[in-house]
Symmetry: C2
Subunit: 317 residues, 2 copies
């Protein structure tokens, strides 16, 4: 798999207005993990070999994902993404809104290049997923003003915000290769579980990761009072003075960032949050592996998925 194959962002710079397409190219040009297009191509490759036919769909998924990052970064007022200034910081907010909009539609344009008989089914899945991702982002924002978010509310939020797009990527790849409904649906469930594990890892890395390798400021979630799995479980599991101290930090207006990050991390450690989160990650990874085992395809063909899972389990960014 070659990253260049799914990155056609440079060609956008031949179009005007440049002020619209430069931020798009900037956003797509900064190499992310490209997890979603890779999942789509792997999903396709389970059932067919000519993966060049799935490249426009892979580009569509990556473009859509970057669109969500652009707009989320405005809403979260984030300054750094993948070790680079976010689009609204590098350009301006209006550019980030409008270029993001253009990317949403460009993702449909790429998808429509896939001229398969079941394109309507794929477009319906993609559109349903896109609406769900918006719902997930709204739940995430709603949670900011609450301290009583339950574990199940949190898991539903990350299912919508993160997992459905991973699941959509794999299933779209399978559908493009004309997989049977039963297999495509199983791969969707696989993607959901992989996505839940992936987002829980993200929560863990944001607090306990290595800043340079992670590509974002460590502790950003703590400063923003993000209702991550870590915070939701810490609020659930802490009592007495520990819980009181945690709530005080959440409501405190004046503080040095490092001071708050250290204090909240310390509380997390007191209530074993790192271990609890890692257990949950392992649980969803195991479920995804079980589902993969059930997929009626020879093990050698499925091998790339197993190795991707192992890479993800040990990821640092």
């Amino acid at each position: 798999m070659n990253a260049e194959m799914i990155d056609r962002s440079k060609e956008l710079l031949n179009h005007s207005p440049l002020n619209l397409y430069k931020p798009v190219e900037y956003s797509l040009g900064i190499r992310g993990k490209r997890l979603r297009p890779v999942l789509l191509l792997l999903g396709y490759n389970l059932f067919a070999d000519d993966i060049e036919k799935a490249l426009p769909a892979a580009m569509a998924i990556e473009t859509f994902h970057n669109f969500t990052l652009l707009h989320d970064d405005i809403m979260d007022n984030a300054e750094v993404r993948r070790n680079q200034p976010t689009v609204h910081k590098k350009f301006d907010t209006n550019s980030a809104i409008l270029s993001g909009d253009a990317m949403a539609f460009l993702s449909y344009r790429y998808l429509l290049e896939c001229n398969t008989g079941n394109i309507s089914e794929i477009l319906e899945l993609f559109t349903k997923t896109a609406v769900e991702v918006c719902e997930g982002q709204q739940f995430d924002m709603d949670f900011e003003n609450r301290t009583n978010v339950t574990e199940s509310e949190y898991l539903e939020m990350i299912r919508l915000k993160t997992a459905v797009l991973l699941a959509c990527s794999i299933k779209s790849g399978a559908l493009l290769a004309n997989a049977a409904k039963k297999e495509a649906d199983l791969l969707y469930e696989y993607g959901i579980n992989l996505g839940l594990a992936f987002q829980l890892q993200d929560d863990l890395l944001d607090t306990f990761g290595n800043q340079e390798m992670f590509g974002k400021k460590i502790g950003g979630d703590i400063l923003a009072n993000k209702k991550t799995y870590l915070l939701v479980k810490a609020l659930e599991n802490s009592t007495g003075n520990v819980k009181k101290e945690l709530l005080e930090w959440i409501h405190k207006k004046d503080f040095f960032p490092k001071e708050k990050i250290d204090a909240v991390k310390n509380i997390f450690t007191q209530v074993n949050i790192k271990e609890i989160t890692q257990q949950k990650i392992n649980f969803y990874f195991q479920r995804s592996t079980d589902l993969l085992n059930h997929l009626n395809i020879d093990k050698k063909t499925k091998e790339p998925f197993y190795s991707l899972g192992n890479q993800m389990l040990n990821r640092k960014n």
Copy 2:
């Protein structure tokens, strides 16, 4: 034609998160002219009678249009739309960004309900149009910092920002009813010319209209130094002290709004801008009528388009 038939926004309030869907419902609930869905249904009705089949597409077009208004109003920092607070003022900017995003995808969801054989062609037209509308909005923003915008640059900008969506509406209706390519393309051209006339009228009404009937603050374009047809032509046609005064008003930072509006209107009057703009409006209306005359369908069937054109020529909002 019943407005309720194309407004299914109330049903969105049954979905969560409500903070995502309330702004969508608010935006779709404020009655606009519904020009685009009407054009789509009229386009369909030229070739087929069962217009209920085109209703989801009509809803799609109106939802897309409202999405663009939501995001444009953020970018322009507009406070009033259709005599009501804009979405980002009524709710907040993050809600307006995210609810707008959801509307973009909801418009695809509605469109995909149209289960016709040529749905790919309609989706391609819709997607191409959506990208063009973003391009038009970017050109419009780029023009804000320039005083040398030419008439042809301006006309290309409004073609992208306004006319292509009207053209797309009519052509989509025709395609849904299985019109031949030649007729669908002619209706597209008709829509472009109608759209150019429509936007020029908008420019005229923003400066010389009646505030209560227009639904937006009169003079908003003047205060924002919007490169409307009026200002582009005034910069082109004025000389000496008149041009100097106009440029001074454009660059002035401190002024009473009413003072600037009155002064610029006064300059417009000195260089006959109202008449020049009205001539251009009449030119594009006439071209649209000529195209309609060429459409090989009996005059009685085309009658709703002629009467719509006449209504538009005399519109006050």
